[in-house]
């Protein structure tokens, strides 16, 4: 009952934030120079005033901006995201087509980053000040300092061209018509390069965070207590240090997971990954307002969703947060 109350409360808050984002994003996107009618007309081959008027009228672009905003907010309130100007299809369909790809990419990258980053961070912290720590810290710095798209290009050249081990781009072997396990394996092969590339940067972040967090927890009183109790080192690390140190990492990480979804534009571009980030960037270049806005709203909603999950995860693993008590 109280959990429900809590979730309801958080949802109300989320809706307020989302509403704000709708308004802000709407105004921002409308502020971009470039008339979607002109773009559409230009695409359609040649431009005439009548065609542009018709497009404007069709999408309500001829009304005052305040009225457009009111209409849009009203639409969003009933979960109507409208139609893409360019593709003449409901934007929600367009996003639904692309979202799984983005989620697959980002979540894989996220899991790689979290797993590798946390293990390396813990290793560094256990050997703090000695060579494994130095090596891991330097490696994390290198990952952090190299532009992501640059690593992507290099990875393609190396692993897809010079050593043709992995596919360079796309999400599947087109035309192979694979099914079942073969299809999964095929997608996995396509996933390796982009997910690793995207993951590298985040590995660096998690290494840093984990290292700092573990070093901090290592010195806390209850760890000393555990030692005084004669608990074996292995268990001290697992039950006492890691569980406490990873708590904030896990929550912080789930917050970032939301952002990853919106931040994969570069990776999707470099690896021709058919995801939402690229969709949004193309929508911007085509002034497809409805589509771009919907991507903003959907990704923001995802961030909020991940925040909520983060809270729940935190509450689940940290007894200090009172679950409805």
């Amino acid at each position: 009952m109280k959990q429900l109350e809590f979730i309801a409360g958080r949802l109300v808050k989320a809706v307020i934030v989302l509403l704000g984002i709708v308004v802000l994003a709407f105004l921002l996107i409308r502020a971009t120079p470039g008339d979607p009618a002109a773009v559409l007309a230009g695409e359609a081959g040649a431009v005439d005033a009548e065609f542009m008027e018709r497009v404007r009228a069709e999408f309500g672009l001829d009304r005052p901006i305040a009225e457009q905003l009111a209409i849009y907010v009203k639409q969003i309130a009933t979960l109507q995201f409208g139609e893409s100007y360019r593709q003449q299809r409901p934007v929600i369909d367009l996003i639904a087509e692309r979202l799984p790809a983005t989620l697959l990419l980002t979540m894989t990258a996220f899991c790689i980053a979290l797993l590798v980053g946390v293990s390396l961070g813990v290793t560094a912290a256990r050997h703090v000040g000695r060579w494994p720590d130095m090596a891991i810290t330097v490696m994390a710095l290198v990952f952090f300092a190299v532009p992501l798209f640059w690593i992507g290009l290099m990875a393609i050249l190396l692993f897809a061209v010079k050593l043709p081990w992995l596919p360079a781009f796309g999400m599947e072997t087109v035309g192979a018509d694979l099914t079942g396990f073969g299809a999964i394996l095929d997608t996995a092969r396509h996933l390796v390069l982009p997910a690793t590339t995207l993951g590298l940067f985040y590995i660096a972040i998690y290494v840093r965070m984990t290292r700092a967090s573990v070093i901090e927890v290592m010195d806390l009183d209850f760890v000393r207590t555990a030692r005084a109790k004669g608990i074996p080192e292995g268990r001290i690390w697992r039950r006492h240090i890691l569980r406490n140190a990873l708590l904030p990492i896990v929550t912080l990480a789930s917050l970032q997971a939301g952002h990853l979804v919106g931040g994969a534009v570069l990776t999707e571009t470099v690896f021709a990954w058919p995801g939402v980030g690229r969709l949004a960037f193309d929508a911007l270049l085509q002034r497809d307002y409805n589509l771009l806005l919907a991507v903003f709203i959907v990704t923001s909603a995802l961030v909020i969703l991940f925040n909520l999950i983060a809270d729940l995860v935190y509450a689940f693993v940290d007894p200090r947060i009172e679950v409805g008590a």
Binding site: I16, V17, G20, I21, L24, A25, L28, I29, A31, T32, P33, V128, G129, L141, V142, F144, A145, V146, P147, L148, F149, W150, L153, L157, I215, D219, H259, V261, G262, G263, V265, L266, T269, G277, A280, F281, L284, L292, V295, F296, T299, S300, V303, I304
Partner: protein, 279 residues
């Protein structure tokens, strides 16, 4: 402060970062002397490989000197990095300070506002902002600052929350000092070290962000930046690797140096942690 400088000097890694940055800044300032004139000028034959006579880093598709580009690019990349970080730090510090100091509804309001900016996918927001104002140094700096300030605000708020309950702040209140004076003269100086560390790391992120925007074709074409050089050179990566390799290395080294410097600074400002690190 002298002590901090001393500790920084003793921290070999931080020192390495500092020296590299100092050299880079000297190079950036001296760019017009080393490579006078416009770096866009076509001065040699197109696509000379590195170590060609007169062109140590080669030339590009139009016969422009890559070395001149890298040196002039340092100016703009560093400038964008520094100015946008400075803006982000100022915005974040002001909001975070007010939020943390006054608490209650002010805090609530500012934190909702901050959350809001943290919820919108930041890279997309940056892209849209640059598109709105059309790519120019100003709009890029603005966009980077706008997407970068929330972490600073949160950090400063947290610092203020912990500092404002310190007794010296209470003493200042009891002594009749005004809130503004307390924020800026009493608390802020004590929150400087984490802000400076965050700021130095933010410069690195800003340089990366600018290069990413440039990569997507959203750079200011008036100026040569490293990000632009990579973006322009990457399509020719198979014909002329040096076009994107050298600016890439420049970004890498700079970001690395900034991180090393930031970490060194962090250790120097928090001797407790540094000692722990060595223990």
């Amino acid at each position: 402060m002298i002590e901090v400088a001393g500790r920084l000097v003793r921290n070999a890694i931080g020192l390495a970062g500092l020296i590299f940055l100092a050299l880079l800044i000297v190079l950036a300032i001296a760019a017009p002397i080393i490579y006078p004139g416009d770096p866009w000028r076509m001065v040699g034959s197109p696509q000379l490989p590195p170590l060609s006579p007169g062109f140590p880093l080669g030339t590009d598709a139009l016969g422009r000197d890559v070395a001149a580009g890298v040196v002039h690019g340092a100016r703009v990349s560093l400038l964008i990095g520094l100015v946008s970080s400075l803006c982000a730090v100022i915005i974040g510090t002001c909001l975070g300070a007010v939020s943390g100091y006054f608490g209650r509804w002010v805090d609530d309001l500012i934190m909702r506002f901050t959350e809001f900016f943290q919820t919108i996918p930041s890279f997309m927001l940056a892209i849209v902002l640059v598109a709105i104002f059309s790519p120019s140094i100003g709009s890029i700096v603005f966009a980077i600052a706008i997407v970068s300030w929330p972490p600073v605000a949160r950090l400063v708020r947290a610092e203020f929350l912990s500092l404002r309950s310190r007794d010296f702040v209470k003493a200042a209140v009891v002594g009749g000092q005004s809130p503004l004076r307390i924020i800026f003269r009493q608390i802020l100086p004590n929150a400087f070290s984490p802000i400076i560390v965050t700021g130095s790391l933010m410069v690195a992120s800003a340089i990366l962000l600018e290069s990413a925007l440039s990569f997507l074709g959203l750079g200011d074409r008036e100026y040569v930046t490293w990000g632009f050089m990579i973006g322009a050179g990457r399509t020719m990566i198979r014909q002329a690797w040096w076009l994107s390799a050298f600016p890439g290395i420049a970004i890498f080294l700079t970001v690395l140096a900034l991180n090393l410097f930031g970490q060194g600074l962090n250790d120097a400002l928090n001797p407790r942690l540094a000692r722990k690190g060595r223990a």
